[in-house]
Symmetry: C2
Subunit: 533 residues, 2 copies
């Protein structure tokens, strides 16, 4: 539901023209640099030593490892240790070669596993130093050595109190010597690019996404996906404890879901089909099938030509639908507790990850999210009034535009000191036909959105569970009820009153962390122009 | 991966022709009955009393409730109780009207919540009896009454020691009076249809799936989806404890995934795209991006015209991919522990559900699954030899057909007393190009399938992580490497050795429980002919 009522193409919070121009120029520079690097990488012959044989490996101190085909020779009692679990003494690890530099007498390397980096040094034979220095950055390497306290703190690494004294060093797979994107550049904090006369060029967004597997290797990105997972797992954990059933609805559906225009169509063995824009109907069918309370986490497809920081053509929807006994606010209570559980759980379990993220996005990130124990529920009419009082143009029966959404977020933050609130009783005219009208004033409806930092993360409502009334509302909305016969018929076999909501996972990750763009919260994002990688 | 190498269209374990004919005839009968019922339901005028007003509701003892629009009148301190949590005394519940019959002096009803049924009786005023009897089966009702021990066990209900003495009875939403599928018929145990001269007609499969929301209301179906959820949650729980990262890969991808033919194509803003047949490439990219061990649960799309009990055009894939340190058998150890965790956890937490399922599928279900503490890993060459010894035609470098898969399952069961085993070292010729060849005998590969009851539930392998060797293998398979350039390039930026596997959730549910068809383990299945509901 999160994106459905919105056709916003312009991001009102966009930077100034001058800043945009500067950014474009820098992006162009970076792009060119990347292209040259790519070309060089493809054409430039680099000396690669012949691979060691399994026999040679036994005694070798360095060299390129033979292809790992699970040969018995690779099996030994000498176990590998995770970089985070190392203890002083002899150790063996595998990691990415984050950086390497050599002098005549030493080689200094930084090794990386996930978001963690460790310095590894070698003093000794010249040919080994030469070899280590020949291994391109981002190669995957196997290193043995002595793990020990470092003489002084190593600020360039996440593990700063210890270092590894290399005894053996092998390249498992070599990266190309000229990378299209330097992980170090991709990982550099924003502040590094803002310093006057800086030599660093911030990689452009397209360069990053074109080379996403390099981009994803940055500590901040490794951390974002840990946070994303924590949010998703918290969502499930909370709901399962509340006796929700997990459902999986089909993504290929007949005709067009919700009758919307922004759908991806396909042929299904000769029948017209499309990709589900939301699991709406199937959630309701699951309630009609007697499951009482259900949730689903799955892909949602929107063929919208939107280019804002909060739109994706394929995103992860987190949906719930529950039987209502007394009042649809039962769902608001669940959503409220759910979101707070997610906030608390994520902040508690992901503190280290959040630190890594803040380190990279240092300049741009707002402070940690604030919320109140008793959630603020604002009636749409009050919201409209507050906006009017603050000088904004806002009718109480028309939708909020993005600017007013943000403004209302600020007003609520000032009034109640919270980044999270619920806006209730939306005008019926801007909600889908299946939304239950308010019983006292039919201009409004039993529907709500949730906001974090003034941006919508969730949309929901009580649904109409009576087939005749549903038909009436469909006609009133100017839709031919015959086109929705299958939908209406769902309610002819007995159905509990019910309400639900749809949340967008990428938006929650973005807004909880306060990072700029929900594309950064998706492993391999899909936008109108981006179908790869 | 589970379905990809398979083009099996005939189910060798199919029933005899006579049985098929009989089943077809019965299905036809049931279909006709359903059609008549549907027609009647649409045309026959049924007396429906006028809805009560909110004012009338206060004192009324029975009647049709006004539309529930979250009016304040619906909010009271008198809470609803779940049917499983009732304690003797006055209670209020909402439930489906599973059955109703009345005499002059009494009304006997069966109320149903999820898989649980409870008898509710009324003795008293004739007009209330008449009203209760007028409410169609499967209507959703609100009932108040006194919960108390029953004088004798009520065998027709899941709660047999207690019953409800009705004091108030309201219809919330009425079902149509002639249902296209009777939930009672849909829930009847198989044995009821096998009795000589039975009056019961088993509903046909299409009738069930056409009216899936009624079909899903049976105790067995409610239970199947609880088991499905338990399996899915166990899968995640186990892997998260083993430090796996959850990933979400895009389902709309460029061109055709794995170069297969059975793909659903679509237009993506003017670019040719298709639905992912597996998250294979994205799992590998996540490993290359440094995530070390990843899993994904998500939809997988296969445009195969297969009509067997184990094929779906959209199913839930459960995929893993992990960095390999010493030997790809590290993944087999994970898969083995994972499956046993799933078996144990599901059997422990879903005993009640499994009983409900066995009750319905009484005749067809094999005994509970058996497994050994130390998992049986069979070398493909040994498997082929055992089949040959048992009189089957089986080459050691060709794939198993479904008959031989089952036969080998039986041989393994006899030899080792297990329904679960792993077949290792498949011939390379029948595996995809990215499969790592066996280092000693290139006719075989570092790949494996897992089987339950002689049917494949999982397919996996060590993948090639070296770009040059990958190219070599692609050429050897007769594929133009230019068409796979993007895939090969993933490995040019450094990549750990890795292996993985893809499991099919519906197949696991089906085979663990021993039910007949994986369509029954999918809420709203998609087959070549079925795109609705």
């Amino acid at each position: 539901m999160s994106q459905v009522e919105e056709n916003q193409v312009v991001d009102e919070n966009a930077p100034s023209k001058a800043a945009l121009k500067k950014a474009a120029k820098e992006a162009e520079k970076a792009q060119k640099k990347a292209e040259i690097a790519k070309k060089q990488a493809e054409t430039q012959p680099v000396y690669v030593p012949p691979k060691l044989t399994l026999e040679q490996m036994k005694d070798a101190k360095f060299g390129d490892m033979p292809l790992h085909q699970s040969q018995p020779e690779f099996t030994s009692d000498n176990q590998f240790t995770d970089i985070k679990l190392l203890t002083p003494g002899p150790v063996k690890i595998r990691a990415y070669l984050h950086n390497v530099r050599a002098t005549g007498k030493s080689a200094f390397t930084i090794l990386r596993q996930r978001q963690f980096t460790l310095q590894a040094v070698f003093f000794g034979e010249k040919d080994m130093i030469k070899y280590i220095n020949s291994v391109p950055k981002e190669s995957y390497v196997e290193v043995e050595g002595i793990y020990k306290a470092s003489e002084q703190p190593i600020n360039s690494c996440s593990i700063s109190g210890f270092e590894l004294e290399i005894t053996r060093f092998f390249a498992i797979t070599r990266a190309v010597s000229m990378l299209p994107l330097q992980v170090e550049d991709a990982a550099r904090p924003d502040s590094a690019f803002e310093v006057k006369d800086t030599i660093f060029v911030k990689p452009g967004r397209d360069t990053r996404f074109d080379n996403r597997i390099l981009d994803l290797r940055t500590p901040a990105n490794q951390s974002i996906f840990k946070v994303r997972m924590a949010i998703q797992q918290s969502f499930m954990k909370f709901l399962i404890e509340k006796n929700f059933m997990q459902i999986t609805s089909p993504k290929i559906i007949s005709g067009s879901s919700e009758g919307g225009a922004d759908i991806f169509s396909l042929q299904y063995f000769g029948q017209p089909a499309c990709l589900a824009q939301s699991p709406q109907l199937y959630k309701q069918m699951s309630i009609a099938a007697g499951f009482q309370r259900v949730f689903e986490i799955g892909p949602v497809f929107r063929a919208e030509k939107s280019h804002t920081h909060r739109h994706l053509c394929e995103f992860t929807g987190m949906d719930i639908e529950v039987e209502v006994f007394q009042h649809y606010h039962e769902v608001l209570v669940i959503l409220d507790q759910l979101m707070k559980f997610i906030f608390k759980n994520t902040l508690e379990t992901c503190q280290e990850e959040i630190d890594f993220i803040r380190k990279q996005f240092d300049l741009k990130m707002p402070p940690t999210i604030e919320w109140t124990e008793e959630t603020v529920i604002v009636d749409f009419r009050d919201g409209a009034k507050w906006l009017q009082e603050a000088g904004y143009k806002q009718s109480e029966v028309e939708d909020l535009n993005t600017e007013n959404e943000r403004a209302l977020g600020k007003i609520v933050k000032e009034k109640f000191h919270t980044d999270f609130y619920i806006l209730d009783k939306f005008p019926g005219s801007i909600r889908p036909f299946y939304t239950m009208p308010d019983v006292d004033d039919a201009r409004f409806s039993d529907s709500y959105d949730m906001f974090i930092r003034g941006e919508e993360i969730c949309s929901g409502a009580q649904r109409i569970h009576d087939p005749e009334y549903l038909k009436e509302r469909i006609v009133a909305k100017g839709i031919n009820p015959d086109t929705l016969k299958d939908y209406i018929d769902v309610f002819r076999y007995g159905c509990p009153p019910h309400a639900g909501a749809g949340l967008g996972l990428e938006r929650i990750v973005m807004l909880m962390l306060g990072i700029e763009d929900c594309r950064q919260c998706c492993l391999f994002p899909r936008t109108p122009e981006r179908l790869t990688p």
